[in-house]
Symmetry: C2
Amino acid sequence: MSAFDDLLAFQRQTEALSSVAERLGWDQETVMPRGAAEQRAEEMSAMEEVLHERRTDPRIGEWLEAAEPQTEGDRRAVELIARDFARTSRVPARLASELARLTSLAQGIWAEARANEAPEDFLPTLDQVLMLKREEAAALADGGDLYDALLDDYEPGMTGARIASLFDAMRPRLVALRDDVLGAERQPQQLSGHFPQETQLRLSRACATAFGYDWTRGRIDLAVHPFSSGRWQDSRITTRVVETDPFNCIYSTIHEVGHSSYELGIDEDYAFTPLGRGVSMGVHESQSRIYENQLGRGRAFTGWLFGRMSEAFDGLNVTDADAFYATVNRVTPGYIRTEADEVQYNLHVMLRFDLERDLISGRLDTQDLAEAWNARFLRDFGVAVDRPSNGILQDVHWSVGLFGYFPTYALGNVYAGCLNGALRDQVPDLDAALAEGDATPATEWLRENVQRHGGLMPPAQVIEQAAGASVSPEPLLDYLEAKFGQIYGL
Amino acid sequence: MSAFDDLLAFQRQTEALSSVAERLGWDQETVMPRGAAEQRAEEMSAMEEVLHERRTDPRIGEWLEAAEPQTEGDRRAVELIARDFARTSRVPARLASELARLTSLAQGIWAEARANEAPEDFLPTLDQVLMLKREEAAALADGGDLYDALLDDYEPGMTGARIASLFDAMRPRLVALRDDVLGAERQPQQLSGHFPQETQLRLSRACATAFGYDWTRGRIDLAVHPFSSGRWQDSRITTRVVETDPFNCIYSTIHEVGHSSYELGIDEDYAFTPLGRGVSMGVHESQSRIYENQLGRGRAFTGWLFGRMSEAFDGLNVTDADAFYATVNRVTPGYIRTEADEVQYNLHVMLRFDLERDLISGRLDTQDLAEAWNARFLRDFGVAVDRPSNGILQDVHWSVGLFGYFPTYALGNVYAGCLNGALRDQVPDLDAALAEGDATPATEWLRENVQRHGGLMPPAQVIEQAAGASVSPEPLLDYLEAKFGQIYGL
């Protein structure tokens, strides 16, 4: 065995254990009995400590020094292990374990506070999480910017300053489009009625199948906040049901199918190596977003969906496919990010990005967070937040310590915009398939050009190679203006 | 921190990790996508290797030497850790890891072979499992008896020779009772009809509730082979449904509720210590069996169940409660151990005990197993096995390496017989509660006298202290002769 072989064999077990920890997280959010929270926190903490010990094992340093990778893939694997080793070695085991225990508990506290509209039950815990995250950021940043150090976990190589300038460039065109759309004379109908849970779940399964989701390597369950979980042979999705709004369930499902398809689409030779995962959250989100929006909310697929839904719910109050397409893409003022339309979604992200940068830098305290959120929301969206579950309690992210994660959602939209142009050019008859409820030609193109590569190339390179152009927000903004201009007759 | 504190803190994490591995096993049997088998095998193997490393960590030896436990509980915890340390240190890490990987795969191979009635697809794998188990037994036995070394994992202190002589003492009375019952003039009616899955599951949930199962710390799912899984705050049960036979689902559920109640009933101070588990498989089985048989199949509880089932299924072909009681306890020739009545159940166990002792000792080869099984079954039960799923493919145990486990089922029945006498003496109005569908007074007595102690005392001591007499098969045999004598008018 060479040093390289030893390194990869060790990494293989670490990847397997990390996949176990992820499966445990899925269990907690979907099937775990409610009274098991403390036990699970203890279990997660023990797993985290084992993983931390492995990731900081001094033998990795020795193997890295002696390893002689021969192929491009092997060199990249060594690079990713070295990067992870350097980062993890900076975080003390005690801190990693405390963070695991606290965030496992905090998630339950957040869910209960959200159900009870009681931010005061959650904010002290959030403050503890924030404290530990700042400590972690300081350890990682090594004198550099705290927020950048956290962001780098989700979008390697990206900085807060670059995100800020990207967002500054996008904001005016998005705000202008939003104002035009909300002021337009032509307004889409709203879907109304009662849509039973079982029928919604059946339709969601049909949509997942339409996008080629591999049921032998996945499953769908209910969760408070939809997510996808797992890799290689086992990537599961979750969704949620609101019986007055079937689009919530259907588009959450398609979104998560995008995430899982990425993981399931990675070259199987990369399984149990650092190449066997989506390369960044931004690229991950590009997959979920292009499935959900450019494909799932396009005219062709909604035409098929209109037929399926009319049949399943025994008629709808929206009675033709063009009107249904407008209904699916209806832009209205709203509080919830995950329910936001394509025009306003990125504005929601920008709000969180600015607030979390301030929380991490110390410019904002958790006790002032609600006020800051509500003031900013009023300014950006023109409405006052009516209750905490529509405001600071709506997202799970901060409770589980995901600071620096939010901007990757908007970055994913930008990437999806870039990919969509190339996809449409190279699969010209895609709309004909989508109109038949078959999105697999899109999945195949994305698998070939993005998904199969896993971690082989850095994020921007994956997108640029697939799109055939450098990353820019222009394709996304052009697409949005064209789509919503047509729907709203601007 | 004293050596004792260090030892217990280390053990706490090991217990948490072992609980994670158990949860992973549950996942595999209930919700895991079918295509994830290889990945799961890799994950289980990685977990097993971590656990093996921890269990053989040389620091344990040092801590054990220096530990000065002060209380009875602390002394017992140290004793159990020392016992586990000595045993685990004997098994090489390579062997433990191979066993984990192989048995994880073998389970899927067994399930498929069983579905296809194709023992030839399973036997080569069983042979590999057996080879590794013999290797493990040899490492554990250190020159002693191979089978005893494996048995000791499930029933500490017990030997194959003592089991054999116990079984020899029981067999004549069981065979005589079986012959009398099968030859009796009065024969109970058989339940017939179609019993929809959803209704069976609803009734099973009601039965679990009747026995005081804590739904905030548990849940019920479907699995091929019913089992209970987990401890402390999270002990889940599984059941199965045969739509022509509702008793299969209902009594599997009550049986597993017995196992889970034991784990959930252990003193919460013992959580994450070696005292925080059922002390042996025999004692475990005493709980599941007394719930299922002495309580669940008694006249009082079946009276309540008769009412619930008549209502749920809109009438039954058995129309009064006494006849229903006889139907529930109907003795018929049958192939399947888990469906066997109380009279014949132990005879099924004896068959497996003798065969697996021969497999481990090398007196029997896997290629001759089907022939040996079928010949023995014909001799013991008077009928020829009609297909492999009714013969050697019916149990999951051997596929997952559980050699030495089967006799603990019969031992559990013996223990249950001992406990039942004391329970009836000390809770004289129990039948009145059972007749109302309330078995919680029994659960409370068992919790107080057996369950809460967890691993505090050796198996026989737990039973003897609760029963107020030494362990003997007499109470069980007396109970069976009285119960079935009355039902069959002997």
